[in-house]
């Protein structure tokens, strides 16, 4: 009497896994929705700067500054010259990377332009200047309107300015000229007040500061709000989406095999346990593809923003552990649901409790991110099947590291409960796959679990 060998058992299980993987992944729908879209996103992100037009056509001509007070033209010209330059002589005063990025884009707006600034002190020549603009002889006329002061009309403080532009001037260039006019006007106002703009700017700049989170154990770590709130959410959503999507594929496949009656053909060749194991492994690979696609996209984004330090290798390792844990739990539960019904609509009622549980991590995101080592977070870490979702929130977001014993304990506990869920699901699966007709009641499911 020959017993099936372990190798034979796994070979057949692997055949099931491979079929499920191939039949899911190598379809146009999957490739388009799951792989192509993120890839298009990545490629598009990289190519957008190349695909965009190089900038508006270069400006040629002069900008007439009509200013009876004669103060506005110089600061305006200085700023314009800076924009017309290549930035090589940039003094680096832009406060941060974002400001430098904006300034670089603004330079691109005027790339190749040759613009001069001419001061017109006589306000009565305004209409002539406007005609120059209309005729195409000038790019724009900046009319500076002033109030009265002791020196007489037109010598007072700037009340407003009007930029008269050529009808075909592109919006991006208009916006830039407006910003330069604003900045120049501010400089004039500051100097009229007897202050130095550079000094005021330096006074307004906040000194470097940071927040340190002090732990009860004597440790201290820099507080990173972005990391604390967004990175864990990113990890959790990646876990959630990949697990739900791949487990849902498994559910649909099981229901299909029941509804089209191919189940009995399969069970004449392999055991229900082999079938379930093969399905779980096959769709686990599908989940891994999803993680690689979406996770890779996220990491590429972080790398582009030079924020890769927010995702250390330890986070990725823990993610892998929690993904396996979460996937096996949810996939086995949905396999059980799929085995118990013959049609998708029948699955809705049985899916309810599973989906309810799956919503909990989304609700817990905010409170756990606020207090990753609090009582709620700690307790929730030990509540199956929430363990992997809660722990990924805690371990990737906590400024103060989660205690090692908690990580180890939750991995052990999570693994044990995962095995328990898989066992329960397998008990239901082996009975459910052969059942036809109306879906079982919860009481019947219990009977299936206890059946010999």
């Amino acid at each position: 009497m020959s017993r099936p060998t372990l190798t034979g058992w796994w070979r057949r299980t692997a055949s099931v896994a491979m079929r499920e993987f191939v039949q899911t992944v190598f379809t146009k729908a999957f490739l388009l929705s799951v792989v192509a879209l993120p890839l298009i996103g990545v490629v598009g992100f990289a190519l957008i700067p190349l695909l965009l037009p190089e900038g508006p056509p270069p400006l040629r001509g002069e900008i007439v500054v009509v200013d009876p007070g004669e103060e506005m033209a110089t600061p305006f010209e200085r700023r314009l010259d800076r924009m017309l330059g290549d930035g090589a002589g940039d003094d680096g005063t832009a406060p941060d990377a974002i400001a430098r990025f904006i300034e670089s884009n603004e330079r691109a707006v005027l790339a190749g332009s040759e613009v001069t600034v001419r001061l017109e002190e006589d306000a009565s020549r305004l209409d002539d200047a406007k005609d120059q603009v209309r005729n195409g002889d000038a790019v724009a006329v900046l009319e500076v309107r002033r109030g009265e002061d002791d020196a007489g009309a037109g010598a007072g403080p700037i009340e407003s300015w009007v930029m008269n532009i050529r009808s075909d001037l592109p919006a991006r260039q208009v916006m830039l000229l407006e910003r330069l006019a604003d900045a120049a006007a501010v400089e004039v106002q500051v100097e009229r007040a007897g202050e130095d703009l550079g000094r005021l700017r330096s006074l307004m700049d906040p000194p470097p500061g940071r927040t340190m989170r002090l732990s009860e154990g004597g440790g201290e770590a820099p507080e990173q709000v972005e990391a604390k709130m967004l990175v864990p959410m990113g990890f959790m959503m990646l876990l959630w989406v990949s697990v739900i999507t791949s487990a849902n594929y498994l559910l649909m496949s099981t229901i299909e095999e029941k509804s089209n009656r191919v189940m009995e053909v399969l069970l004449s060749a392999i055991s229900p346990m082999q079938l379930m194991a093969g399905k779980i492994l096959g769709y686990g690979l599908v989940g891994a593809i999803l993680v690689a696609a979406y996770g890779g996209l996220a990491i590429a984004g972080l790398a582009a923003a030079t924020m890769l330090d927010l995702v250390p290798a330890s986070h990725l390792l823990l993610f892998a552990v929690y993904f396996v844990m979460a996937y096996f739990t949810i996939a086995s539960l949905l396999a059980a649901v799929g085995s118990a019904v013959t049609e998708l609509r029948d699955a809705q009622s049985l899916m309810g409790p599973v989906m309810l549980v799956m919503v909990v991590p989304l609700i817990l995101w905010l409170p756990i991110s606020e207090d990753p080592n609090g009582v709620l977070a700690t307790v929730a870490s030990f509540v199956p099947p929430l363990t992997p979702f809660v722990m990924i929130l805690r371990t990737t977001g906590s400024a103060e590291p989660v205690a090692i014993w908690q990580i180890v304990a939750t991995i052990l506990w999570g693994t044990a409960t995962t095995v328990g869920f898989v066992w329960l699901a397998a008990r239901i699966f082996r009975v459910g796959v052969l059942m036809q007709g109306k879906p079982p009641t919860p009481l019947e499911l219990l009977r299936w679990i206890r059946r010999r």
Binding site: S2, R12, V16, Q23, R261, E264, V265, S268, A269
Partner: protein
């Protein structure tokens, strides 16, 4: 492929299977010798499919023992071919992929599965469907694809649950021919049907189920000998004289009843213990006859004899 040396392909002892309060199979003892082509018959709900599913270890008995090919059923799966009653294919899967997949699950190497898929499709007169999706095939073609999936790994035991249901006569002939060839190569074949005439045409052994119990388990020849033929078919020499002939035949000793058959044919039912040969002679003497014969006992007659009711309405038999 390992070959067991036991003389029985299937050995079932005291098997009981219940579904809730319903006893689907009730203390079944069954032994199918190797090399048999055995028909499992009975009306719907008699327990045929449940027994087959237990043999396939798809479901397990509540009581009793079951041995298939000298092993427990689970261990023998690779040596059994199975065509379930409920036909099923992956709709979107290509025929070739489906057959290769089932072949691999049955322990075939990928190359063998591929070669045998093509060979069996040709044999079943399904050339050119390897690359088609299963949903593109007609119902009959799908059924033949499933038959190929059941036999491509050259099983020692082939179990077919209602293999001919829904097939047109041409496909029935194709499948029957394949079945005979497989049996001739030494494979034990067990197939269930509720159509008695198919079993009579194919099987050398018959197992009859009724309400979860086995009520008959014998070689076909033995059944025909055991159940006395008590029906004669008589046709008058002159057309249109059936009425007069009927009156004369009813008067013969040993004739219980005379009914009209098809055309001018008359059907004589004999009383228990009456020798058909004597009545045939008396009938021939009573009037000129075109033909007179003893009708062979049908399995349906046997069933009626055993349980006092017909298996299926007579008109359902093709």
């Amino acid at each position: 492929m390992t070959t067991s040396t036991t003389t029985s392909s299937i050995r079932i002892r005291g098997v009981v299977k219940r579904f809730g309060p319903t006893v689907a199979v009730d203390h079944l003892d069954l032994e199918i010798p190797r090399g048999t082509l055995c028909g499992v018959l009975g009306p719907n709900g008699a327990g045929k499919s449940t027994t087959i599913r237990m043999i396939m270890s798809i479901i397990h008995p509540d009581e009793g023992e079951l041995e298939v090919l000298g092993a427990d059923a689970l261990s023998a799966k690779d040596r059994i071919g199975y065509l379930p009653e409920e036909r099923g294919l992956y709709r979107k899967m290509k025929v070739g992929e489906f057959l290769r997949y089932v072949g691999r699950l049955k322990g075939l190497a990928s190359r063998d599965a591929r070669d045998r898929s093509a060979a069996w499709l040709d044999r079943l007169e399904l050339p050119g469907v390897l690359g088609k999706r299963c949903e593109e095939l007609s119902k009959g073609m799908q059924q033949k694809v499933q038959f190929a999936a059941a036999v491509m790994h050259e099983p020692e035991l082939l179990i077919l649950d209602e293999p001919f249901s829904g097939l047109d006569p041409v496909n029935v002939r194709t499948l029957t021919r394949a079945l005979r060839e497989i049996h001739a190569s030494g494979t034990t074949v067990l197939f269930s049907t509720h159509l008695m005439n198919q079993a009579e045409a194919l099987c050398d052994r018959i197992v009859l189920f009724h309400r979860g119990r086995k009520i008959l388990d014998e070689p076909l020849a033995s059944i025909r000998n055991r159940f006395d033929p008590r029906t004669l078919l008589v046709e008058p020499a002159d057309a249109g004289t059936s009425d007069r002939l009927r009156e004369r035949l009813e008067a013969l000793e040993g004739v219980e009843a005379v009914e009209f058959g098809t055309g001018d044919e008359l059907v004589l039912r004999l009383a228990d213990g009456v020798a058909p040969a004597g009545v045939l002679g008396a009938a021939a003497a009573a009037a000129p006859l075109r033909s007179a014969s003893v009708r062979s006992v049908s399995l349906d007659d046997v069933f009626v004899d055993l349980v006092g009711e017909r298996t299926v309405p007579a008109e359902a038999n093709p």
